[in-house]
Symmetry: D2
Subunit: 403 residues, 4 copies
């Protein structure tokens, strides 16, 4: 057993960590101020472009992609600590071209896309020129049960016709978002996991309408955002179906493992940053003649946060390693375990940090309230806690079932 | 021991409860939609005025005021259940002219105000014509320790001169907010609890500036809001000091007991409403072929919410009764106990309700995210949990101190 | 709403409280030492008889019994605070002739017993001359589901024949235990709640065998104990059936409400005593140059314990009042609520007190480990938490069911 | 990063795991029955000797010892998974000669003992012929603060004279316990960490008296036990001091790291076994027509237990690896982290398993109540949670201290 980073991973880790701390974190407060002061916050401020260029220059680009040619060729366990660093900041993931859902979309296109699809959609995504969204969750049904999905993608000769309403389509508010991957029901008679298709839909196709941008605990996460999107008789060529009709679930499956590891590692970075802010505040602020750190149970809360973060990080790293060595089939329970453990851990840590900041922690003066909102949404996104706990328990009980 | 409501209380309770359910809750969604759609949400929509008039007509007005002449003459334990009903809705407290911080300000003016102050400020507040704010918390110091307060209110012959910066001044964003009660340091040499004064400051006085409206978890709570206010050489007549210089702490003291009971009871109403929404959702929404109520631990969570709410309500009612029968001196620990117990309970219940709603629970489609934000702020407002736990422990250990 | 005690209740409360503190608590340590030093701890030490006589002399006897002639005529809400005082000590309940399961058995005999049954069994129980047990739970089935009950009580002409195995029959180890109330299946064809009977079985009847005394977390609770009892072709006259065959569930029902209130109030007394011990230890013991009370989160834990106890007490008192005013039918959810809330609260408080005592808290030098064991068993006895939460949720959701 | 076991570790792991499951677990119930049925449970049943011989035969002996000559030469991270397997059973540690406190005592003697001390005490310990205890904690002071230690070990020419009272001396009840390592104050004037000495004291030395065996939650853990031992003018040769007077703290320091890893890994084994029992029970037992696994929140609890165990195990393994690669100085916070995290995790899991077993889980029919008792004591032994959280927080805040 060896917990040290590979030489490659250690090198990237040092560089990404430095970049985040010296290039990104210092400009973040001003970035947010400027964004919220602008007439339209659904915009990309110039600083983002500059940072992207700098990151790309330094080879800190598409690090998530295991492909050695187009990405950095890192395994999941090597990339995970980089994702943690990026998670410290709201803008870092885009700066390194490693933000969801583009990462998942790129992986899907790389693995399942036709050469034409790759040329048209993957290439500009890899260059960071465009952005994309993913349309799966629906407002009218409990999406925790994916088989509830009701939107349709019906083959009509050489076209596929799309109807339905999706929401929580993250990134759809970004001005550069050029297409979505839509998932819908194609053949209700087919085998349970062969019924759905994934379709590439340019966002300006007729019949596609972003009805509104949703808020999460009052935050709209501009300029990415989470949209509610209606599809009304939207027609695209059959060649826009990824890997052919009926393969939606199979493809969705594949993006789950790495995607959840990325989400969880970013949350760990967010929790670390929150703990850091809490420690700084506890050391500097005084009440009743003492620094907050020396009052009541504050030190115990800081200790618990440290313990919780460390445990969660190890759980994700181990899951990443399992995914690398045994594939998704050998890491299914673990992938669900991190999906339960990490967001809940992050919420505890962030909430503790908020409390130590007093009312300031609730405001936009610190990134904590937004961090809480982001972590809270991950108890639901990609499956609620309850569904993942159910899966973990099923694995656990499998050995005990009556014959 | 008798847990039944007095006849008067029962009568009011039935009427307030009906009013909230039939007049207010049904218009709330449209109210919020209209408010957020308006160019300036710092506005009072006409429906508020209509509801206020109706409430006043029905004698459901100033119910919080124990004064029999100007208020309803209810004891704390009689008013508490009414506050619970009002707490179900964000707008109900104003509709009944029972919203913070106006309630506290009215009580202060009634008890400590000069006839002139009552005439000028209390009378229009009681009629619901104007609104007010309370300026105590400061950004630069840990306000959990009130003796940290640094803003000044210095007597200069027949004027009092105010300087400093306050924040979290709730209600200061309301277009009808006409004055604030400012608390500041008058005599640093005086006895520790005789140093501060409370001063009535018209909001349009020269040198008063609302610097910005703060957000709480992304919510700005328009049109009430929480403001950061700077005071620069603000001069008002000495007669604007309430009860004379140096009595700030004494007056602050008095408003704490009832104020905390009101806050807590409103939170219980909010928790009840959230539990109701959770039950409705759990009964109606289906996943994996069953209503959510029949999946996993959902029923246990609902049961725990019911148990937690009931316990918290009884704790507040008992505290209200203690306050009525023994005064603040006999209820000090209990007042701090509810301030710890109730917001934490409400957060648990609301969070559970959010989770049962899925991602919808995070959005503005349900009042849950805003409810969470409101409850979270009450773990800090009026003293953070930690300060109140410290007081409760001090009372508990008092009997055991070494002589 | 009036939280004050009735004059009668206040008078009893003062006297019981004094008796527990001055007569019982001081002799407890020596009592336990002597009991464990004796060759056979399944014995009644003389001090118990002396205390019983003294309690009876002072009219502090059978206070649980609402009957005005044979008991004190107190309502549930009046008796509850007395049960709390008794719960501070392991021996107090017997001293006041108010210990389970005799209290429940006396109530059953008073309400359902024939004159002959009352003469033979109730009278000596009321005088404290004999003791009894209750045989319901079975080792071979999940007793959380009472319809699983498999032991039989079959009518054979003028006799009833009993077969089966029961366990957790509390009190069966007591040398004065003269009979048990046995509950078993009489008519498997009858209506679901008319199948079982309750039968009075003298403990020396042929075929009755106490197989062993069980331990709870290593404690055997001598001289009361929890026995596993086998019944092999045990024959008693048909007149020993209480209220006639098939009425077992109906009778069991009736004892649940008051029984659970007694259990819960005693636990609150135990929690109070544990908190008192914790405060004393925290004030007296020093580490790192300070009393434990001033280290880390200890004060917060003490505050939380106070808040938790107060909430739980009020929940039980309110439930008692509901039972008094509306009967079991109006208090069903609440009775289950206290059964979940109180043992869990008590465990938290006792565990905190143990931790503050260091390793001493785990030992027999303090009553805390035994207290923990007793409270832990009440998360299972009389129905596990899970069953009670299920009932609470069912009540909660009843209003929301689809028509 | 590589989470796979080394070849050596994997080989041992397979063999230890098999041995525990095929040789030890099956005989455990009968072992406990026989032990408790025996007139004197402070005895070594023959089966223990047979199992020890078999383990020694198979080379599964002294595996904890990193020394390649006398032990297995395993690193901490290699031994940790073996300790987990041993922790599944109460008797396994002794069977493999890997039980506390003998392991710590052997390490101390190996590292600091003189050749004579090693010949006399270490050799027979390594052969499993004798056993030993460690006397550090004292009843009269808060031992969480080690500098409170009041017992004395005073040099008088060529003897050292010992006085004082120790308790929680684990293993002192074992019939083969031949000596204790006593820690006491030698020079109150010396530097704070040079005041104490460790002395080898044969248990039959005049003046050594085992006053009583303590219980932990009612368990006495025969035949090991936890003793209270008085030392009255006990005289042993100065050559019995380990490494010379004044080095007690230095030596104690060294045993902490591995010792805590062993304790924690054994607890993880205990938690795993408890989870296994819970799953088996949940699959087999039925209530309300379903296996318990399909009722209420039971699956969620099983999932949470799995997640908690996995996180805790990784935290301990990582700490073991840190200890191997950076020494105690580089793992101080982590060693305290596991000491907080693991016992609390184990208690949660065991308690859940108890609840799923119903009242049977509280009894001696399952190893769960004893497991709970053992895990509970580890929230205090080797330093209470609170002290370890304090250390973790101190490390965390170190970077933020004002210069």
């Amino acid at each position: 057993m060896d917990f040290s980073h590979s030489a490659t991973a250690a090198d990237y880790l040092g560089r990404v960590s430095d970049f985040v701390r010296t290039e990104i974190e210092p400009v973040e407060p001003e970035y947010h101020r400027a964004l919220h002061a602008s007439a339209d916050p659904w915009t990309v401020l110039p600083v983002i472009g500059e940072l992207k260029a700098k990151a790309q220059d330094q080879g800190l680009w598409n690090l998530f992609l295991p492909d050695t040619e187009r990405g950095a060729g890192l395994s999941n366990v090597e990339y995970a600590p980089l994702a943690e660093q990026m998670g410290r900041s709201f803008i870092a993931p885009e700066v390194f071209n490693c933000n969801a859902p583009d990462t998942g979309n790129m992986e899907v296109l790389l693995q399942y896309g036709s050469p034409e699809q790759q040329e048209q959609w993957l290439a500009p995504l890899l260059r960071g020129e465009i952005r994309s969204a993913f349309c799966m969750t629906e407002p009218a049904v409990a999406s925790s049960d994916a088989t509830n999905m009701a939107a349709t993608a019906v083959v009509k000769s050489d076209e596929i016709v799309i109807n339905g309403r999706k929401w929580w389509s993250t990134g759809v508010g970004h001005p550069n978002c050029k297409f979505v991957i839509f998932m819908g029901l194609t053949d209700p008679e087919a085998d349970r996991h062969r019924r759905h298709s994934m379709v590439l839909v340019p966002i300006d196709t007729e019949g596609v309408k972003v009805e509104r941008m949703l808020s999460v605990f009052g935050h709209r996460d501009e300029p990415y955002g989470h949209g509610e999107v209606s599809f009304t008789d939207v027609r695209v060529p059959l060649s826009n179906v990824i890997a052919g009709p009926g393969r939606g679930f199979e493809i969705a499956q594949g993006r789950l493992g790495p995607g959840r590891i990325h989400h969880c590692m970013r949350l760990i970075g967010l929790a670390e940053r929150s703990l850091g802010l809490a420690c700084a505040r506890a050391s500097q602020r005084e009440a009743f003649g003492k620094p907050l750190a020396n009052l009541g149970g504050n030190r115990e809360r800081i200790a618990k946060a440290r313990i919780a973060i460390n445990q969660a990080r190890l759980l994700v790293l181990h899951t990443a390693w399992l995914l690398d060595t045994e594939g998704l089939a050998g890491a299914r329970s673990e992938v669900s375990q991190i999906k339960v453990a990490v967001p809940n851990m992050a919420l505890e840590v962030i909430d503790m940090a908020i409390q130590l900041h007093g009312a300031a922690g609730l405001s936009e003066d610190f990134p904590l309230a937004a961090a809480y909102s982001g972590a809270r949404s991950l108890r639901l996104a990609d499956g609620p806690d309850e569904v993942h706990m159910g899966l973990v328990a099923r694995h656990e009980l499998a050995a005990y079932k009556n014959g």
